[in-house]
Symmetry: C2
Subunit: 345 residues, 2 copies
């Protein structure tokens, strides 16, 4: 259903073949600066495209900006046969996907992820969304793009910290579904884009297979939340600080915490868990010093209000063994507190 493309020439051919009535590119201030010229130079099909630029950053992922984009589409005379191209990281793909999937009850859209995180995670799986009153992704849809363009050349524009953050989701895919993939990732020393490319494809494959089996997340898809119960809480707790964490950094620590919990509650092999935790720490360097004041007491209520939970219980995805995730695992406070302290030790 979604076409997978690997470079901008393939995108150009795709656009020419599809004969959309018009094309609109949605970019943020970063991708407008770093990526748009390349995109337009490679795609003559975008010669007369309209460009919408919004501010970079998570704060643009809200209803006011969505409304501005809908209004712009209306002003351009955009019809149902037009295509919106979302050029950016997860903020742009989530927001642009939501806007396109609801404009005139849904127009075609294409994701062109420019961050590693978006290539292996945000752009895949058909979840769209915006934040509401500071709560993440409270309004959104399930809707597939007509194509995803994974053009790793864009990764060269990313700071190394962003690139390492994106690795967290790839490591997660390895842990929940493919130990070989995890091992290959841990053997990377320098983050070389050429070496990353096949690993990015494999990560995308893993996520696609899980999503295909359970598009609307009624069951099995929840395994993709491995590392995210604690990760999201940590991200929220740090968001108000001067030095917030990147999503992948929070998830990396969430993965380590979930590994420790898995040892205690599902008898995951302790040696494997320690060595996996060490690899994650090495690949996604964690500013643990900065988190000394984040206590289990701070995180617990944030985890209780997670949109997957109910009645104040806290559920985790845990590993019984590598590649064998179990979702809906209810975790008590004491077990979590112990695992958290092991994680930031």
């Amino acid at each position: 259903m979604t076409e997978q493309l690997y470079n901008l020439n393939e995108l150009n051919s795709f656009l020419l073949a599809k004969e959309f009535s018009s094309c609109i590119v949605l970019a943020d201030s970063n991708t407008h600066h770093h990526c748009l010229a390349d995109l337009l130079a490679s795609c003559e099909a975008l010669n007369s495209a309209e460009i919408i630029e919004i501010d970079a950053g998570e704060s643009s992922k809200d209803l006011e900006i969505a409304s501005g984009i809908w209004e712009a589409l209306l002003e351009f005379g955009t019809d149902r046969h037009a295509c919106l191209l979302n050029l950016g990281g997860g903020m742009i793909t989530d927001l642009g996907g939501f806007v396109a999937s609801t404009f005139k009850r849904g127009i075609p859209y294409i994701h062109i992820p420019t961050s590693l995180l978006a290539m292996v995670d945000a752009a895949i799986g058909g979840k769209t969304g915006i934040n509401l009153s500071g709560s993440k992704n409270q309004v959104g849809t399930f809707a597939h793009p007509v194509a995803i363009v994974t053009c790793t050349a864009f990764l060269r524009t990313l700071p190394e910290r962003e690139l390492r953050s994106g690795m967290a989701e790839m490591l997660k895919h390895g842990l929940i579904a493919d130990l070989d993939h995890f091992t290959q990732l841990t053997q990377l020393h320098l983050l070389d884009v050429v070496k990353l490319e096949p690993l990015i494809r494999r990560s995308a494959e893993i996520k696609n297979a899980i999503v295909k089996a359970d598009f609307r997340e009624s069951g099995q898809r929840q395994v993709l939340n491995f590392g995210h119960t604690t990760g999201h809480a940590l991200e929220s707790a740090m968001a108000k600080r001067d030095t917030p964490l990147l999503h992948g950094e929070a998830v990396a620590l969430g993965l380590i915490c979930a590994l420790h919990l898995s040892v205690k509650l599902l008898h995951l092999d302790a040696e494997f868990a320690s060595s996996a935790a060490a690899s994650i720490s090495r690949l996604v360097p964690l500013p643990t010093g900065r988190m000394v004041s984040i206590t289990p007491e701070t995180l617990w209520p944030l985890m209780q209000t997670d949109k997957k939970n109910r009645d104040g219980q806290v559920q985790f995805v845990l590993l019984e063994a590598p590649g064998q995730p179990r979702y809906h695992q209810i975790v008590d406070y004491d077990s979590f507190a112990e695992a958290w302290l092991q994680s930031v030790d």
Copy 2:
């Protein structure tokens, strides 16, 4: 997929069986006054339901109100297992359906249409939407309610003009799909709710069958636009006046215009068209005197910008014979002008 219920006791049993985590009723100022007490008295399952009331009228069908409802749901702590009950006419079912289908990427919702128009048309078929900058339904989704409750007792609260307006969509269903249904409708003299009930069910059946065959309106579903090309333009043209038309009134005249065009362009039997037009005029009394200043020149550009059209062409659904609609019929200005003048004659 959508459960069809016919009274409030059935709704109560449905709610008890489903065990939603919470229920929220969305009403407008009219249905809050006329219908809410009956609903709550008949459904103990709604004992602890939250109530959201918004102003009646099309101007509430916008992003600001949608945003207010999302915020209220968030404040109530509404989770993905909650249910939104939309109690009202087409404005409430369109808006409530949109809000529910996008809150946390979609929570279950139930339509309880209280107008004839909503029972036979708006609440059926899974189209949701809000207006944008005064343009109708520019933002929305395709999403099915978990149940529709057709409780004709609510029709007793409707003014006769509203009831007659709702007949237009039923007449349309008869013309495009079931001549017997059309004939039975034309034989009604008083609009008696008891006599209407089986006809409402038949109309709903016809629409459901058409929608089922083409949910996302890529083809055959477009036949439901019979009468709506001119109807929508007329509704827009009259909206700015002191005495706007009801949707069904505009559609009734649109049906008559489409019948005249069908005679000219698709050789629909002229005698049938005249007699059908007379029946429509009788059942849905048309304030034609008030439309003397609406000219074909006023309507044409409004029809060109209809969201189904492309490149300035105007497409109609026309009838080759009763029950044999043809969509994508391109109509020239002169033919339209002639048919319009016959219609308001």
